[in-house]
Amino acid sequence: MSERPVSLPGEPKVDLEQARAHGLAPDEYRKIEQIIGRTPTYTELGVFSVMWSEHCSYKSSRRHLRKLPSKSELVVQGPGENAGAIDVGDGWAAVFKIESHNHPSFVEPYQGAATGVGGILRDIFTMGARPVASMNSLKFGSFEHPRTRYLLGGVVGGIGGYGNCVGVPTVAGEVMFDAAYNANILVNAFCLGLVRKGEMMSAKARGPGNPVLYVGSATGRDGIHGASMASAEFDKQSEAKRPAVQVGDPFTEKLLIEACLEAGKTGAIVAIQDMGAAGLTSSSSEMPSHGGLGIELDLDKVPLREAGLTPYEILLSESQERMLIVAERGREAELQAVFEKWDLHAVVIGQLTDDQRWRIRWRGQVVADIPIGALADDAPLYDRPAAAPKIQPPARPSAAGKHPETAKALRALLDSPNIASKKWVYRQYDSIVQSNTVLGPGSDAAVLRIKNSRRAIALKVDSNPRACALDPYLGAVGTVCEAARNVACAGARPVGITNCLNYGNPERPEVMWQFIRGVEGLRDASLAFGAPVVSGNVSFYNETEGHSIPPTPTIAVLGVMADVAKHVTQFFKDPGDAIVLVRTARPSIAASEYAAIFGIDGGRLGAIDLAREAALIEGLVEGAEQGLIRSAHDVAEGGLAVALAEACFNPRSILGAEVELGRAGNADAFFFGEGASTVILSIAPGDAARVESLFAGRGLEFAVIGRVIADPRLRIAAADNLGLDEDVAELRQVYEDAIPRRLRGGD
């Protein structure tokens, strides 16, 4: 039975030093020797090094992620598969997930971002779901940093270049520029697919003797050690890691989508998984292991792009657009016919066994023979030390500061790339293919109708690293609140969450502390909204030469609405409508764009009352369902003044607003403060009492602050000459030209 794996001629000697070069700690190497009872072959060492990498094994995060709520009556699939799924009604399940591609995108922005899109798409359609919407969350360094333009152009080009070729609309996203990301950009890609509830596919293999099919592109040398790259910090030599970045082929991906979905309909697929990080190794070990089985593969059958690949290279390649399928025995030909129709490889390369071994043959010899659980499930698990940093931010703003003239401050904020229109970015994405996009990019949340149904889904991706830097717990809570609120502004009830947790080096106690606090914040907010976390991804080691990114949990929220016709947009609709402000707390300039632009220390974050946050969301959803809300806009970066201006920028016809704010108190916070969960609504004047009962009745602050006017001016009357009276068209010009102007190189 057990044939001892052979070392191949010319292979490097395996020892502690070699293990270290592969990113394995000495204890980890000793554990490998213990598990297999001998010195691993070079191939086996490579395989362990990727499977036990942070990226694949979640060894530092796993015990904390268990705290996240993952159940509700709508959950069809929680964590444990390629993506999570939520029942969105009328027999449909929405399968969704967000994932990082940070490290490759920094090294090679176009291909890094493109393959990030490709990878997340595969996680969705392996579940049998047709991908219907993509989103992304991007963090770049300061706009003035010399690499930022190159990275921005490359990443946006890569997302478009891939996403536009596969026929999945990119419907929403966020882009932020901050010097904290100068040396570590973030590229988080989200995808959502729809599948009939009973037709989901699984990555859990069953049936010893069932054949294993390799489908899709041939294997080349690209992307070897991609997973390991994503599990280490960057240094000055990071540019040299380019060969570890995979190269995408969106046309093949499109074929793979169609072929896999069509093959799924045959019923001959037992299990299917993407060859993503750690390629053939991860898919061939995880699928059988999750089904309590083993596998035997013959690498000579693997389609190769070039001759001469070693077993080590074949097993570790991260060539894109490849899938591994376990078929029902005897029905291989049915599946192969489907792949042939789409001109794709579909080759039987092995079969399942019942001995729980991961056994690999090459040229007639066994080159790896490992207990399968050791690779897929029994990677070391760490409870890394965590400690709050010694220095805490000051309790109050450093100085009251000299308040810039309100109108000037508003223009400066509208001109900030973090607030300004991202049209330059999203114009490069196909946002309408598949004919479901009711609200696309440029809205608080995207809204997609479900064909042959009145129902619709709403999507939003959010993050708030500045708040998380001040307080990683409150920042995470606030991020979930904001994403959920945006979905509710569109009229949808938040029902599910996916997250991408981007942090620094977890071996540093303060990073581990940030991470744990972030997870706890996510847990508490998820519970408050009854929106479980069904999928996610952790990206550690976003760090260069000891400088970590700020903690950046990226949160995507899925919302559902019963009637797409009741969706709400952020723009004021008709002159004469009343403008209403609803909020849960007092705004502050802590972690605000205003504080960042004017160099003010904004102090600490205010507390968040999750019961009030949930009440606000309930009020918004009910108001939309009852048709009482004509527009709803979340007050986000730039505060109330910016939100009012944005609500006037109706693309159909620009409108104005007249607002009376009375005594502003702390004027900075009043006009430009953030973090208070504030929403601006416009409603028919006659509905004020009913809308008031929706919110004031739930204990929230509710105030009619003004009205929509036909004259395209934004007039804010406030005491102490702090008001403003600005031309909306001019404001919009500032807002729309901020990013193009910087890219033109003008000032």
């Binding site: 478009g160 536009n164 070729c165 026929g167 499109k254 994405y429 309408i432 996009t437 016709a565």
Partner: protein, 229 residues
């Protein structure tokens, strides 16, 4: 009318086109597979948007050699109605069923947005439901939509009325800012000399429902439906 929508392996707007024609318009429409030669007796062939065979070489350059395109060429030569949208337009130019060529946008980047088009010739089977000078609001989404042809040829095409759609501003006037991709003479759609083959970069199939942003695309499909022989 019986419609056929050709499905190349990398077609992306094939489903949307079929949906617009069959579900929204209630017409008889079916998919045609690129490896087949039969057109199944349809009266109008639609070549949809997408990236037919990946288009890594040149948009539409490989599609023209596909089995179905042999039949489409013959169908067009026999006077059958053919409409190519976006990648379909690129394929028709590559196959020499339409004059000119489509090259990379002036901005060198992909553009997805709604634009204004002016109907330059309303007496074709593709535009007869519109009036000359009508403005249509349709989305574009392409990286290679810059229309080029020799100056002489364009002049002749204009004289013969082969320029069907032009990019204009919201007031119906040509101006450089309203030309999204830098097309020569702001050309967005052209027909052949017989007026039975029409190609356009904008996507009428993405403007057939008010909820999704507009219905101006129906004008094109209604024109074709009204042109049944």
């Amino acid at each position: 009318m019986k419609w056929g929508v050709v499905r190349f392996p990398g077609s992306l707007d094939d489903g949307d086109s079929l949906y617009a024609i069959a579900e929204v318009m209630g017409q008889d429409a079916r998919m045609l597979w690129h490896k087949d030669e039969s057109l199944g007796g349809v009266e109008c062939v639609l070549l949809p948007g997408g990236f037919s065979y990946g288009d890594y070489l040149r948009t539409g350059a490989i599609a023209r050699f596909s089995p179905i395109m042999k039949s489409v060429a013959k169908f067009a030569a026999d006077g059958g109605l053919v409409i190519g949208i976006c990648n379909g337009f690129q394929i028709l130019c590559e196959a020499h069923l339409l004059p000119g060529a489509l090259t990379r946008n002036r901005s060198l980047s992909f553009i997805c947005e709604r634009v204004w088009l002016r109907v330059e010739n309303a007496s074709t089977p593709f535009t007869r439901a519109a009036k000359q000078g009508d403005l249509l609001r349709l989305p574009i989404k392409h990286g290679e939509g810059l229309y080029v042809a020799p100056e002489d040829e364009i002049r002749q095409m204009e004289e013969r009325g082969q320029v069907i759609l032009r990019y204009v501003d919201a007031n119906g006037r040509e101006n450089d800012d309203a030309n999204p991709n830098g097309s020569m003479r702001a050309i967005a759609g052209v027909a052949n000399q017989r007026f039975n083959v029409f190609g356009l970069m904008p996507h009428p199939e993405h403007a057939v429902e008010a909820m999704l942003g507009g219905v101006d695309g129906l004008k094109i499909f209604q024109s074709i439906a009204g042109s049944a022989r």
